[in-house]
Symmetry: C2
Subunit: 145 residues, 2 copies
């Protein structure tokens, strides 16, 4: 299965967040070509600004496999992870992180780190279905203005 | 009440973590001179590498006040926050962050950010009871060797 296939599943999570009036970001954690966990932004629903799609998906994945590291898993997320989520992914020792749209304003790049926040063993892939992922964000914020 | 008073309460949380064979880091969230939330590192107990003292304390504080921002609160933590926790504190818009021991290896400074990860409105105070906070960490890792 392709990166686009799994990114579409992350986009489905983002679309659910949109319907719930949450900033539409979705994530899935995949291992051996099957879904280990899903997450979508729930900061409004949980009244918790740490309830990002990636954190929810990671915590669910740890619970699913009963381990605190994910060296065989890939996390797909529709938008570039923020500083918090990049740091969470570091601790997870995840094999791969794939995101769609870049996010210079809120993504981890906003603090211009000299050293990548991700784990040295983590492979990074960006730009998968970037237009679709960004379009959902634009539609959401357009509706807020 | 002084910063040392509240840092001692964070140290008490760290000591509980130590007893539970967790890396001994503790945190408290304070508002109007009273404790809003407590947290201690629970990564082993919860099998979740995102279960840091600060994240647990923040999530508990949001729940306690029923709001997703903490502009009137101070978080005390025994050790310099990591990248993940600095990013979580950013989202919380917390008034003040106070830590004890610095942590160049695992703290947020490990990625050498050009821009502070904390919210521009957040006041930072460091070095409160640094020796006591560091001593607990050293005793823990000495016991692991």
């Amino acid at each position: 299965m392709t990166d686009e296939y799994f990114m579409q599943l992350a986009l489905n999570e983002a679309a659910l967040a949109f319907e719930e009036d949450e900033i539409p970001i979705g994530a899935v954690v995949v291992q051996n070509n099957s879904i280990l966990a899903r997450g979508r932004n729930m900061t409004e629903k949980l009244t918790d600004t740490t309830a990002h799609a990636e954190i929810i998906a990671l915590t669910s994945a740890f619970s699913e496999i009963g381990a605190k590291y994910l060296p065989e898993a890939t996390l797909y997320v529709t938008v570039e992870p923020c500083v918090m989520c990049s740091g969470a992914l570091y601790w997870s020792k995840i094999k791969r992180v794939v995101w769609g749209a870049s996010d210079p304003k809120n993504g981890y790049t906003r603090i211009q780190p000299a050293i990548s926040p991700f784990h040295p063993k983590t492979e990074i892939t960006t730009g998968i279905m970037a237009d679709e992922c960004a379009a959902l964000m634009k539609a959401f914020f357009k509706g807020k203005r």
